[in-house]
Symmetry: C2
Subunit: 424 residues, 2 copies
């Protein structure tokens, strides 16, 4: 008798945790992803700031599937689902399923602003992190030989939109890269010529944190030499400047956007009810109301708890992945399926070397202790002994020598330095 088949669409934190539990469960497991690796997204900003090689935060999915008897991997771009026919539709084929776990994550949302979308950098995929690293180093190269002061200033100004964890972590790492490494590499450029501007629409940074940690983070970020503009919105961009809602125009060749996320575009094609940000409305057990064989988890799903949608974070996706794997095994045994309950183990963000904020188990941490916890948890959740070793080595090297070694421009054909590049 053929095994029943579970197809897992998307191998982020949700899909990966579901696959791990379902492996060797007696069901056939097919893992599908457009990439052949699982990506540890929380460290993308360190790839973008020359701290890590991109290979050290990715793990080949076939290195997992080959360990599991009834699991296999299918590389492919997911375009939709035929819910009635129980088929996952890929760009180059389709896959029949008995159970489907949709875990396609989220994408950056520019809220329909095309000019920002065209000129902004974001961090969702590995290639984007490398492209951003190349761009940062390239604008320094260009500035080092630029004599026009206005051009120099635009090349050396970095605008970061969004004061959530990604924006704060990227800003802190970028500032440290500039202060400790690039200022020595580029004797032609004075540190005072560089400028990092954080733009946040709300009245504080890290809004998910308690107030005293938000205050600590804001103080720390500003003390590092990063300008913070609160209650300010970006309205447009053209590659060599960014315009704010208050009429201010900041000349800059680098706009980093971390101010919005939306569920994968596949959600909209499912023909099921959607919540805000295009997230799929799911039952308390994370299944679709009309299709109990289809589970939706992670950033893509809008599961509510205490009346509020759960946040789009890795811990939610991981717990949901394990929950739906257990659900499917329960269904197979003829048992009832339980509703999903999220256990909030805390939240954290790192600002710079020895500086972070964290909330866990009802306690709050800041500074060195929070940073140490952040470090250990990220190493723990990273997959693969070799990746952990590489990341640890890179971090130790940087901690003791203040030196980022990955400062290579691996593709000098930068598309987004646009405005000024063309003017030269």
């Amino acid at each position: 008798m053929a095994l029943k088949r579970v197809v897992i669409a998307g191998m982020g934190f949700g899909g990966l945790n579901a696959a791990k539990m379902l492996a060797n469960s007696g069901l056939e497991v097919v893992m599908v992803d457009r990439n052949n690796y699982h990506l540890f997204q929380p460290l993308l900003y360190q790839v973008a700031t020359a701290g890590l090689e991109k290979e050290s935060i990715a793990y080949p999915l076939r290195a997992l599937s080959r360990q599991w008897q009834h699991a296999r991997f299918r590389m492919g771009t997911i375009e939709g689902v035929d819910l009635a026919g129980r088929m996952l539709k890929l760009k180059d084929g389709e896959l029949a399923y008995d159970y489907l776990i949709m875990a396609l994550g989220s994408r950056t949302s520019y809220f329909g602003n095309d000019c920002i979308a065209r000129h902004a950098f974001d961090l969702k995929q590995l290639e984007q992190a490398e492209a951003l690293r190349n761009h940062i180093l390239l604008v320094f190269e260009m500035a080092s030989r630029e004599s026009d002061l206005a051009n120099r200033s635009a090349l050396l100004t970095f605008v970061i939109v969004g004061g959530g964890p990604t924006g704060v972590e990227f800003a802190g790492a970028l500032r440290e890269l500039i202060v400790h490494v690039l200022s020595k590499d580029y004797p032609e450029i004075k540190l005072a010529e560089t400028r990092i501007v954080m733009v946040e629409a709300a009245s504080s940074l890290l809004n998910a944190m308690p107030e005293h940690l938000r205050e600590y983070a804001l103080c720390k970020v500003r003390s590092m030499g990063i300008e913070v503009m609160l209650e300010v919105k970006v309205v447009s961009a053209d590659g060599s400047s960014v315009a704010l809602h208050n009429g201010v125009v900041i000349p800059t060749c680098t706009l980093f956007w971390s101010a919005g996320v939306a569920a994968s575009e596949v959600s909209a094609g499912l023909g099921v009810p959607l919540a805000s940000a295009g997230r799929v409305v799911v039952q308390p057990d994370l299944r679709l109301a009309e299709h109990p064989e289809v589970y939706v988890i992670g950033d893509m799903a809008c599961a509510k708890q205490d009346g509020l949608p759960l946040p789009m974070t890795a811990p939610v996706a991981e717990q949901q992945g394990r929950h739906v794997a257990a659900s499917i095994m329960a269904v197979e045994r003829g048992e009832a399926v339980k509703p999903f309950v999220y256990k909030d183990k805390g939240t954290m963000a790192t600002i710079g070397r020895s500086a972070a904020v964290a909330v866990t188990c009802g306690m709050t941490f800041k500074g060195w202790p929070a940073w140490a916890v952040w470090l250990m948890l990220h190493l723990y959740y990273l997959i693969g002994f070799r990746n952990r070793l590489l990341v640890l080595m890179n971090w130790a090297y940087y901690y003791f020598f203040h030196e980022h070694q990955v400062r290579l421009i691996t593709d000098a054909d930068d598309q987004k330095a646009g405005g000024l590049l063309n003017g030269r």
Copy 2:
């Protein structure tokens, strides 16, 4: 008084060694390269076969220039030289020089065969190595879901043209990747379905080696399961097949070309006499006859010794780099310039794990001893403590666990899988 300026165009092995000697010599040194790093080309094939991260064989040039008082780095693509006006012409500017060291290396030559140039992979730059790795992994992904046997066979056939060290090293590493790693990763594919074909126009592999080492290499390569066709030429390619001069057509999506090199195209624009392969004819002291302030070294220069042109290898470039640096310092002291004499310290090629051939100090080595020497010398010549550590770790990991961890497809938009991709 302004320092006299030495411009070094190209930071390969020749330029790097010249810069090291000239640093702190009392002259201003400007290092120019289109990339912001020195590339350790001899290990490119290991990046292409998923054995190393590309970052571990590159070293940022500004990490060097910042250690030297009067040295600086200028990133730029070199387009030519105004010999009369003593100006190096870059794509985006120019640089005046008192002394110029031209060290632009070589490029792959397809001998004017455009269809081969369009469809072949070669290994000269870091991006090419990553693109080839992505391609190899992608054809395995495509083959794993391909049911048409002819298509499967074309996807799983790899044609390597050129039986020199690069061809042999790449073929050996590719075969080991397939046998030890990919055959476990892809249960859908039988090892017997894969095929590596080496095509060499001469009557043996590694023609620079003594006969008994050539025979050992041929035996070893064949015993690994690689087909070797000697005295055979490739005449055309179309992305899904390769045609040989004897009428045989091999269906393949992967053509790797290491059968020809020519000097950098900048040579042709200099307006000075050229030798075969576009190499610049230099005086015995490596200067241009009409322009004693211009030195040409490495692959770009045709220096003769005992009536024969010196080979286009790293050791020749390194020794020439040091020689011209010493020459410039001699000229500055008002001393005579000596002719360059190449000291041949040997040559080597690795075939696979524990298998290599080497000639040095009048002795020949093969098998494990040659491989151990190869390993140590490559680690020794690699620049930077961190790179050495990373490479050593990767090699040790592979040696003991037979596992390549860098098997990521980091850009799934493969251009060259063309023929079959379009047909699907």
